[in-house]
């Protein structure tokens, strides 16, 4: 994999000048190294996401349901009714360009469709076509276009090139948040089974095992046990964490990445050492194998999936009656 990546000297040679053709007339070509692989159908099936099937982004046919246009437009209408943010963000952008060079993907790629304003415009153009009188009548003149297969592919390519970091929103004079637009665009695409595997499979794992890496309860205990060995080697002291213990005052939840791979594992050791230190001072804390994920990959799928994956946390508290301390993940 790594040998396909250009070297830093090639990579830094970024051209931030947009092409001569207008953005609607510049076709999007999916480029290897930029897109992620499609979601595994088994993962989609496990959590009941629509249209599970094998497909590849570079295929011509993405095997969509026949009425996909209708599904997306109905889904868009539904979300416009449920999210004021979406309606307002679709309507009030003045294209002042303040967000353009704030996006790390634009800075690093020079691809103009990675400018937050254009990323949003990919969806906005379709919104205008179907929800504004001017768009219906004047079409392209007011930046409206029909939802076509090509447009959908463009959505998929670029809404999975946004990491929902909200940096653009800080600079936008109206607070338009591209993260919000991306989140909802991904929701729409999920209605057609358009996902990426690095989200779909963690979602399925998380649903089943409580953490996105699919670590089962006994393995989780083993991993922390291994960290205790390591800590004992370094300090001579051995922490004794408890798991799923009812009645503990505090439930601790950390992203599963921290129990799985370096250098997160060292951070997990840090937690174990801290809690061990505090136990003598009266800290009553437990870990959960059921609520064993601090991240939430559901958030990258849909609001509903976010809620489904978040459920173990309050549920685990319910059984322990505690409050929770949490380590953080950012994007996930």
């Amino acid at each position: 994999m790594a040998d396909e990546v250009p070297n830093p000297q090639e990579m830094i040679n970024i051209d931030h000048r947009p092409p001569a053709t207008g953005w609607m007339d510049t076709p999007t070509v999916l480029r290897k190294g930029i897109y992620c692989y499609a979601g595994n159908p088994k993962s989609l099936e496990y959590v009941g996401l629509p249209n599970p099937r094998q497909w590849h982004p570079e295929d011509d046919d993405w095997k969509l349901p026949e009425n996909w246009v209708e599904i997306v437009l109905d889904g868009l209408r539904d979300r416009l009714d449920r999210f004021r943010s979406l309606k307002i963000f679709m309507d009030i952008c003045v294209r002042c360009g303040a967000c353009a060079d704030k996006c790390h993907y634009f800075i690093g790629s020079g691809d103009p469709k990675n400018m937050p304003v254009l990323r949003a415009e990919l969806l906005r153009s379709v919104y205008r076509k179907d929800y504004s009188l001017a768009g219906k009548i004047l079409g392209k003149t007011v930046g409206a276009r029909k939802l076509t297969y090509q447009v959908l592919k463009e959505w998929w390519y670029y809404f999975f090139q946004c990491s929902e970091c909200r940096r653009c929103s800080v600079f936008c004079p109206y607070g338009i948040d591209t993260a919000e637009i991306t989140i909802l665009a991904r929701e729409l695409m999920n209605l057609l089974g358009l996902n990426i595997d690095w989200i779909a499979t963690p979602v399925a794992n998380c649903y089943r095992t409580g953490n996105h890496l699919g670590i089962q309860p006994h393995a989780y205990v083993d991993m922390l046990d291994f960290f205790c060995d390591e800590i004992e080697d370094v300090t001579g002291v051995r922490p004794k964490p408890t798991f799923n213990r009812k009645g503990a005052e505090i439930l601790f939840i950390t992203p599963s990445g921290d129990v799985f791979a370096d250098p997160g594992t060292y951070t997990a050791m840090g937690y174990l050492i801290l809690f061990h230190y505090l136990e003598q001072m009266g800290l009553d804390i437990t870990w959960s194998t059921y609520a064993s994920e601090g991240g939430n990959f559901g958030f990258f799928t849909s609001h509903e999936m976010m809620k489904r994956l978040n459920a173990p946390r309050p549920s685990a508290w319910g059984s322990s009656g505690s409050w929770a301390a949490n380590a953080a993940t950012c994007g996930g």
Binding site: G264, Y266, T267, C330
Partner: protein, 208 residues
């Protein structure tokens, strides 16, 4: 996933009245800002402990590190967790340098792999997206000799090491609580010769 916890969780799954209000059992501090969601960030918890002098910390054990801090997107722009992790870092190590102002705190740059884009097949995208972050790290790496990038995000801990290796070799990645784990002096511990990674502590390097 602190945006979800801070801005969504209580709305989705609340109210959580069956739970106790969060109080730090060691210091007695009530976490008023989390009284409805009842979820406290670990650096809020640890910063509170340090503030009340509850932790015996030997900063010099992190003397081999020159640290900078990467604000993760959602804790900064979806919550505002900015000073808590910095307070913990500054109390656990002696050498801390900030990256340039337009690249940290609420203006922080993404690791390039957030929101589920941390796959293996899109490395080019990740390295491109991570360029602004890496560039700011490179700046403090060259100016202050920074060799450790601290963060409060597990995705960062997975995504930043390859990014650093690609753009700024010589900078490693750590979680804030690894620094705590190294600096914290436990009762009955033996003399530490290495840090948690098994690297010799400053002054403990074997002579060659």
């Amino acid at each position: 996933m602190w945006r979800v916890i801070h801005q969504y969780m209580d709305t989705m799954n609340g109210p959580t009245d069956f739970m106790e209000d969060p109080v730090n059992p060691i210091t007695g501090t009530r976490f008023e800002n989390a009284k409805s969601t009842k979820m406290v960030h670990i650096t809020e918890f640890t910063a509170d402990l340090i503030r009340h002098n509850k932790l015996k910390l030997d900063k010099s054990r992190n003397d081999n590190l020159v640290v900078t801090f990467h604000d993760s997107c959602n804790p900064s722009r979806g919550m505002g967790l900015l000073d808590e992790p910095r307070y913990v870092i500054q109390n656990t190590c002696n050498h801390f340098y900030e990256m340039p102002p337009n690249t940290i705190r609420e203006q922080t740059f993404c690791c390039g792999s957030g929101s589920g884009l941390n796959a293996g097949e899109n490395l080019e995208l990740r390295f491109r997206g991570g360029l602004p972050r890496a560039n700011a790290v490179r700046h403090v790496h060259e100016k202050h000799g920074v060799n450790m990038l601290a963060c409060v995000c597990a995705i960062d801990r997975a995504a930043l090491p390859p990014l650093m290796e690609y753009w700024v070799p010589g900078v490693d990645v750590t979680g804030v609580h690894e620094l705590v784990g190294n600096a914290l002096v436990l009762d009955g511990e033996k003399e530490r010769k290495t840090d948690l990674r098994g690297e010799p502590l400053p002054g403990m390097e074997e002579e060659e």
